[in-house]
Each structure stands twice: as structure tokens, then as C-alpha cells.
């Protein structure tokens, strides 16, 4: 009797281990998500300060030419300086004034410049404008800097804190939706940096990947599944190769790209073109394997029916098997593309890792990719970049979730079709 009790206790313990390990895996997953979301969500807002900007004629265009080529040489910084000094008339001394000006991001100058470029008539008038705040101010407003800490332990000193509190009581410092994050490239200043450049880099690279790997992958799958001679040593060799390629570490593909595409064919470094080519070699096995699985799932009666009424082998396959299998093939392709989107190691090796401010315009322009941008920002200790890293991860995860949901939807449709 005792023996049975002990055995049942063992049974319960074993079961508990199972539950615990699943719980542990899911807890780790949720910690990962929670930590990234809690750090990242604030990056979708940016802090701006409203200033009365007086576009003084004497500063911008003393000769009244109204010609942009003349005006663009003017010092727009003076306008910001004047305006913010007016707001705090009791601040005196060069260094104090400079500190005051530093509440505004250095991009403020470009914002004014752009405004005047489009409204040259506005010279001589005064306008209320929301200017981007410096990243430290941004962090303070978002609550990432603790105001009650002693002065030497926070990045905002007492003077600056006093000024910001004045701005807050006047209600001219406010959080907006972070447009900068989605419309600009990388920058050394965290408040001016965005993911558009990286996103376009990823988009270009993935288009190349799709163009190369989708047709070749599907053609290979069709050949191996329908036309290849059975029990042929050479065909077996091809299959072993494909299975092995699926498990080769991704960084090895980067070495291949470096030695062959960059060194031998002398294609441009850091370009999405080469990145896409490397990624396409990586996604090929995924596409081939899943396309074969979905062609296997097509009932043989469909092909036999076509052959029976006199279609040729090619006609039977292309007119009857492939159209049924296409959703399944697309599922594999999308999963492969999602993996390629998250991949970064091979791109590091072919030089897509660099500080690139310009937005890439074509597949041969130097660019980074979204995961690489995350890697670069993760290396930067500033709090503003930590926030943006998490936000970029959130964007990346959203893309992956969308792609995977599409894949799941297509798979369900495929399964319904063949049943």
C-alpha cells in the first residue's frame, strides 16, 4: 500500500515538473515582452516646446530680397535664442543662456529653416511653433529622470528643472505623437533619430530576397517533387544539400556573401542588394522544404485526373497541382521572409552595419536594416536610445506578427482547399 502511495506521489511530482517547465518558459516569454513594451512604449511620444518665433527681417533677409538662396544662409539659431530668452528675461550670463537654449533640440533650426523655405512670405511675422525638445528634457517629461534625486545624480540640473517647471505651468511643453521616429533616419541625437532609413533598408533587401528566392525555391520544389527521377543518387545529394543548408549558421552565409558577392563580383558594400542576395540564399531551403510539403499534400487524384484526360505532365502539374498548392507555398515563403526580416548576423558581415543618416533611395545605396538598427542603438548607453531600441523592437515584432498571421491564414485556407 505504501509502495503505491509513493508511486502516486512520484507521478504527481513528475507531472508538476512538466507544468513548472511550461510555466517557466511562458514566464520568461512574458518577462521579455513586458520589459520591452514597458521600456519602449514611451518612445512613441516626443516632447515639444512651444515658442513664439519672431522671424525677424533683419536677421533673415536684411535686404528684403525674398530669395530663398539668400535667406538660407541666415542664422536661424538666433531666432530660437531670442525667443527663449524673451520667455525667461531674468536669465543672464553667457553660459546660463547657452544652457537655456539647449532645452531645445538642435533640430529646431532645421524646422524653422524648412518652414521659411515653404513660406517665404512669413519673414517679418511672429508665429507660435512647437519645437522638438532636447532628449534630456524629453526623458524628464516622460518620467525617466527622477526629479527628487540630488542634483549631481540626474542629467538635468536645478536651473534647467526650474525652467522646465515654468514651461509646464505655462502649458507650453507637451507630448505629441512621435512623428520623427517614423520619418527620419539614424542620428547621433536620440530625439532626432528614427527608423525610416532602417525600415526602407529592410524593405529593399526583402524585395530582392523575394524576387530571387520565391521563383527559384518554387521551381526547385516542383522539380524535386514532380519531375526528378526517383532513387537517383544525384537527386538524393541535392536533397541532403538543401536539408543541410537549412541548418547552416546564418553567419556563414555572410562569409559567402563577403567572399563571393563583395570580393569576387565587386558589388557595393553595405547595400541592400547584397543583403537581399545573402538572405535569399538563406531563405531558399525554407521555401523549398515547405513548398514540397504542400505539394505532397495535394491529393494525387487531382494530377491523375488531369493526366487521364490527356494533359501532359507539365500541364497537369502547372495547371492543376500548383494552383492548389500555391497557398501552402506562400505560407512557407512568408515564414521564410519573416525569418529574413529578423536576421542580422549575415548583414553585419557584409557591412550593413554603419552609422547611416541618409534615407536609402535604391537597392545600391548604403543602408542598414531594422534588426541592425536595433543592434546599433542597443550599444548606446543613453536612456533616449534605450527607449528607441525597445520601440524599434516593437515595430519589428509587429511586422513579424502581421506576416505570421498572414501565413497562418493562408495555411488554414490551404487545408480547407485540399480537404
Amino acid at each position: 500500500m505504501n509502495n503505491l502511495k509513493a508511486r502516486l506521489a512520484k507521478e504527481r511530482r513528475f507531472r508538476l515538473y512538466g507544468i513548472l517547465s511550461i510555466a517557466l518558459a511562458l514566464t520568461l516569454l512574458s518577462i521579455l515582452f513586458i520589459s520591452i513594451f514597458s521600456q519602449g512604449y514611451t518612445a512613441f511620444q516626443e516632447t515639444k516646446i512651444q515658442l513664439d518665433i519672431n522671424f525677424e527681417q533683419s536677421v533673415l533677409d536684411p535686404k528684403k530680397t525674398k530669395d530663398w538662396d539668400v535667406v538660407k544662409k541666415a542664422n536661424f539659431n538666433i531666432l530660437i535664442k531670442n525667443s527663449i530668452n524673451e520667455l525667461f528675461p531674468d536669465v543672464s550670463g553667457r553660459s546660463q543662456k547657452r544652457k537655456l537654449k539647449k532645452l531645445i533640440s538642435t533640430s529646431g533650426e532645421y524646422q524653422l529653416r524648412n518652414y521659411i523655405k515653404n513660406n517665404i512670405e512669413a519673414i517679418g511675422t511672429t508665429k507660435k511653433m512647437w519645437l522638438l525638445a532636447d532628449d534630456d528634457v524629453d526623458m524628464l517629461i516622460k518620467g525617466h529622470i527622477n526629479r527628487s534625486l540630488p542634483e549631481n545624480e540626474r542629467r538635468i540640473d536645478n536651473d534647467e528643472l526650474k525652467w522646465i517647471e515654468v514651461l509646464e505651468t505655462k502649458k507650453i511643453i507637451k507630448k505629441f505623437f512621435n512623428k520623427t521616429f517614423f520619418t527620419s533616419g539614424d542620428s547621433a541625437e536620440s530625439e532626432q533619430s528614427g527608423i525610416l532609413g532602417a525600415l526602407l533598408g529592410s524593405l529593399f533587401a526583402l524585395s530582392i530576397t523575394l524576387i530571387i528566392s520565391f521563383p527559384i525555391g518554387i521551381a526547385t520544389a516542383i522539380y524535386l517533387e514532380e519531375f526528378a527521377p526517383k532513387n537517383n543518387k544525384f537527386i538524393d545529394f541535392i536533397e541532403v544539400n538543401i536539408n543541410n543548408l537549412a541548418a547552416v549558421p546564418s553567419i556563414i552565409f555572410g562569409l559567402l556573401g563577403l567572399a563571393i558577392f563583395l570580393n569576387f563580383f565587386e558589388l557595393p558594400r553595405s547595400a541592400p542588394l547584397v543583403g537581399g542576395m545573402v538572405l535569399s540564399l538563406m531563405t531558399l531551403p525554407t521555401i523549398i522544404i515547405s513548398s514540397r510539403v504542400s505539394m505532397k499534400a495535394v491529393p494525387p487524384s487531382i494530377k491523375e485526373g488531369a493526366l487521364g484526360v490527356g494533359a501532359s505532365e507539365i500541364q497537369a502539374v502547372f495547371h492543376h497541382v500548383v494552383p492548389v498548392a500555391i497557398p501552402g507555398m506562400l505560407t512557407g515563403t512568408i515564414i521564410g521572409m519573416a525569418r529574413a526580416l529578423g536576421e542580422s548576423a549575415p548583414l553585419l558581415v557584409i557591412g550593413m552595419v554603419a552609422f547611416i543618416v541618409d534615407i536609402p533611395q535604391s537597392v545600391t545605396d548604403p543602408a542598414t536594416a531594422l534588426p541592425i538598427q536595433i543592434y546599433l542603438w542597443a550599444d548606446t548607453p543613453e536612456r533616449g536610445f534605450v527607449e528607441r531600441t525597445s520601440a524599434a523592437i516593437i515595430v519589428l515584432l509587429i511586422f513579424l506578427i502581421l506576416m505570421n498571421s498572414l501565413a497562418v491564414y493562408l495555411r488554414q485556407r490551404f487545408e480547407k482547399d485540399i480537404n
Binding site: 520591452i36 524535386l224 519531375f227 547552416v248 556563414i252 559567402l256 567572399a259 531558399l284
Partner: protein, 406 residues
């Protein structure tokens, strides 16, 4: 004129060729029964002629690049010849269009060859990888001996900038890198092995269908998260946590410890282990389980004494695949493990891995003949061979195991 415009012209010509073939066969068909449908005649004409002229252009370009570079000034002749080839081939095919011309069979043969060529690409990629790493590694081993590389214990790949510079002759002993790689892979398998295996057992033997359908996709999310995200997680959350816990117990832990990298890599590999084990456990025949349960064994006894021994080869194969994944993983270790080569088995210290060093050696400006750059390819060669062997054994074991129960 450039290559792109000549390709465009060929494209336009092909379209008109297609319509010419189509038209002729349509007209002829009115009098006599045709072997192939008209579109096949058109398509064959277009494909035949464009393929032959594109083939000519490509071979010309290869010859020009590798053998006779001064051919470049004769580009215009290339364009003219390629157009002439196009027109001749189309004319020849056009003449062939008759009631008994087997256009479809010809076209289908071309399609089959195209499919074959596409599937050869997989072999080409493998050969490309092999050649590129072997070729560059060979250059590397011309400078540094292979025994020094494989058995040396000192790694500092800084080559002297000047000849007379003191104390900076590069050292390329890769043992610390191999040790670091295996240390991190070992830690990650200690996490992923038990957790992955136990969750697979629970999901396949205990969980109700409904729990399984919810939990399984959730754990698979872990497999879909990009590795750079895991790297960030390791740096921002796990490493500080481990360091603080360690200092509470009076243990000093480096901020880039092997433990943090290995732990996070373990989390990444959990779904990998669990989905393979799940497959393997499910393919154990129900008879074996029923027999054991029938003689009065509890479920856990059945699992431990019957299912796991039966599934063992498959499970080991799966674990080997996971090890190869851990060894080849790059981003987590680049972000969370150290850069300096450190020969130690202490998980609280910083170690570096093969993949980290490949990235370190190749990022930034590089000349292609310095041993520093070439060393990366030698490391890549070692990595490729090790993962290839692991994968081959694992796939072989898993396949043999499946056949056993089929």
C-alpha cells in the same frame, strides 16, 4: 547604350515574336489540324530566341571580365550580334511552325531544364560556401600554421601596424574561442534541454487537447523572436539581474558573463528542443504505451521506462540539432558575451565565442589580405565543419529513428 536597355529591347522583341508565332499558327490552323495549341508556338519562338541571345550576352561578359578586358570597347558589336542572333533564331523557329511541329513538347523540355537548373542552385550555394571559406582559410594557414590556430591558447588578433611595433604581434590560438563557444552552448543546453523536454512530455502525454492547442503556439512564439531581440533582452534585463543577484551573495559576476548569454540562448532554444521532442514522442507507437499502462504502470513510469527509452535516439538527434544551433548563434553572444578571449570554465566570467570573433574581425574597414580578416574565414571554416557534422549525425539519427517505427 547599356546592358539594361539591350535587355529591354530583347524583351520587347520577344513580345512581338510571341505574337508573330501566335498569328502564324492561328492562320495555318484554319486549314489543317495542329499538334500544339497556338500559344505554345508563340511562346516557344519568344523563349528560344531571347534565351539564345541572352546566353550569348552572358558568355561575352564572362569572357570580357576574366580573359580579354579590352573587349569592353567593342560593346556595340556585342549588342548588334545579340540582336542578329535573336532575329536569326526567331526566323528559324518561325519557319518551323507547321501543323506537325511539336512546339509544346519542345517548350516543356525547356521548362524541365529550367526547373533542373534551379534545383542545382542548392548545390551551387554549398559549393560556394565551401570554396569561399576554404580558399580564404588556405591563405590564412599560409601565414599562421594550422596547429597554432587549432591548439594555441592565446588569441589576440591585432596585427602590428608598423614592423617595429613592440608587443603587438598578433596571436591566433583559437582554443579560448572554442572553449567559450562550448561553455555558452553547454549553459544554454542545461536550460533548454530539461525545460524543452519536460514541456514536450507534458504537452504530448498529460495536457488536454485544448491546453495543448493554446500552449504550443505560445511556446513557438519564442522561436519566432529575432535573435537581436534576445540579445537586447540579455543586455538590458538578464545581465544586470544576474550581476545584482551575484553581488547579493557576494559573488562577483562580470557584466558580460557567459551565464547571461547562455541563459538567454537557452530560452531561445527551448521551443526548438520541445517541438522536435514532441514529434519524436508522438511517433512512439501507441501499443508500447498501452502495454505498459496495461500491466499497471503509472503514466510517469510509462514515460520514464518505456517512452523515453524508445524515443531516445530521436531525442538525442534533436538535442544535437539544438547544440548546432547554439554554436552557430551570433547576435545574442555578440551583444551579451565578451570580446576578449578568456580561457576559463567559470560561467561568471566573460568569454568570447567563434561567432563573436568573426563579427569583430570583419566589422569595420578591412583589407582582404591581412591575417586578421582571413582569420575570420578560418573560424568560419571550423564553425561550418562542426555544424555540418552535428547536423549530419542528427538528421541521420532522426531519420533512422523514424524509419524504425514506420
Amino acid at each position: 547604350m547599356s546592358i539594361t536597355s539591350i535587355l529591354l529591347i530583347i524583351g520587347l522583341f520577344s513580345i512581338s515574336g510571341y505574337y508573330a508565332g501566335l498569328k502564324k499558327s492561328l492562320v495555318l490552323r484554319e486549314n489543317k489540324k495542329f499538334h500544339s495549341a497556338p500559344i505554345y508556338h508563340g511562346a516557344l519562338l519568344a523563349i528560344n530566341s531571347s534565351l539564345s541571345s541572352i546566353f550569348f550576352i552572358i558568355s561575352w561578359l564572362i569572357i570580357e571580365k576574366n580573359f580579354y578586358t579590352d573587349l569592353e570597347s567593342f560593346r556595340n558589336i556585342l549588342y548588334i550580334i545579340s540582336i542578329i542572333i535573336f532575329l536569326t533564331v526567331s526566323l528559324l523557329t518561325f519557319k518551323k511552325i507547321k501543323h506537325d511541329f511539336q512546339a509544346r513538347d519542345n517548350l516543356e523540355k525547356i521548362i524541365q531544364y529550367f526547373l533542373l537548373v534551379c534545383s542545382l542552385l542548392a548545390i551551387l550555394v554549398t559549393i560556394g560556401i565551401f570554396l569561399s571559406v576554404i580558399f580564404e582559410s588556405n591563405k590564412f594557414f599560409g601565414v599562421i600554421s594550422i596547429t597554432e590556430f587549432l591548439f594555441g591558447t592565446h588569441w589576440s588578433p591585432q596585427m602590428p601596424i608598423r614592423e617595429d611595433q613592440a608587443g603587438s604581434s598578433g596571436a591566433f590560438g583559437a582554443v579560448p574561442l572554442f572553449a567559450g563557444t562550448f561553455l555558452i552552448a553547454f549553459i544554454s543546453m542545461c536550460i533548454a534541454g530539461p525545460i524543452g523536454l519536460m514541456s514536450a512530455i507534458y504537452l504530448s502525454e498529460y495536457a488536454s487537447k485544448k491546453t495543448r492547442s493554446i500552449v504550443k503556439p505560445l511556446t513557438e512564439i519564442l522561436a519566432g523572436i529575432p535573435t537581436v531581440v534576445y540579445g537586447f533582452f540579455a543586455v538590458v534585463v538578464v545581465a544586470p539581474f544576474i550581476r545584482n543577484t551575484g553581488s547579493n551573495f557576494g559573488i562577483e559576476i562580470a557584466s558580460e558573463s557567459a551565464l547571461a548569454a547562455g541563459l538567454v540562448m537557452g530560452i531561445m532554444i527551448i521551443p526548438f528542443v520541445s517541438s522536435i521532442s514532441d514529434d519524436v514522442i508522438n511517433s512512439v507507437p501507441q501499443n508500447l504505451k498501452n502495454g505498459s499502462l496495461g500491466v499497471g504502470a503509472t503514466k510517469s513510469e510509462t514515460i520514464k521506462k518505456v517512452i523515453i527509452p524508445a524515443a531516445l535516439p530521436g531525442i538525442i538527434g534533436g538535442l544535437l540539432l539544438a547544440v548546432s544551433r547554439a554554436i552557430g548563434e551570433t547576435m545574442i553572444v555578440v551583444m551579451a558575451a565578451g570580446m576578449s578571449a578568456n580561457l576559463t570554465a567559470n560561467p561568471f566570467e566573460a568569454v568570447t565565442t567563434v561567432t563573436v570573433q568573426i563579427v569583430v574581425l570583419l566589422v569595420g574597414d578591412q583589407e582582404f589580405d591581412s591575417p586578421k580578416t582571413l582569420a575570420a574565414f578560418a573560424l568560419g571554416l571550423v564553425l561550418f565543419i562542426i555544424t555540418l557534422i552535428l547536423n549530419y549525425i542528427a538528421l541521420h539519427v532522426v531519420r533512422k529513428y523514424r524509419e524504425q517505427y514506420e
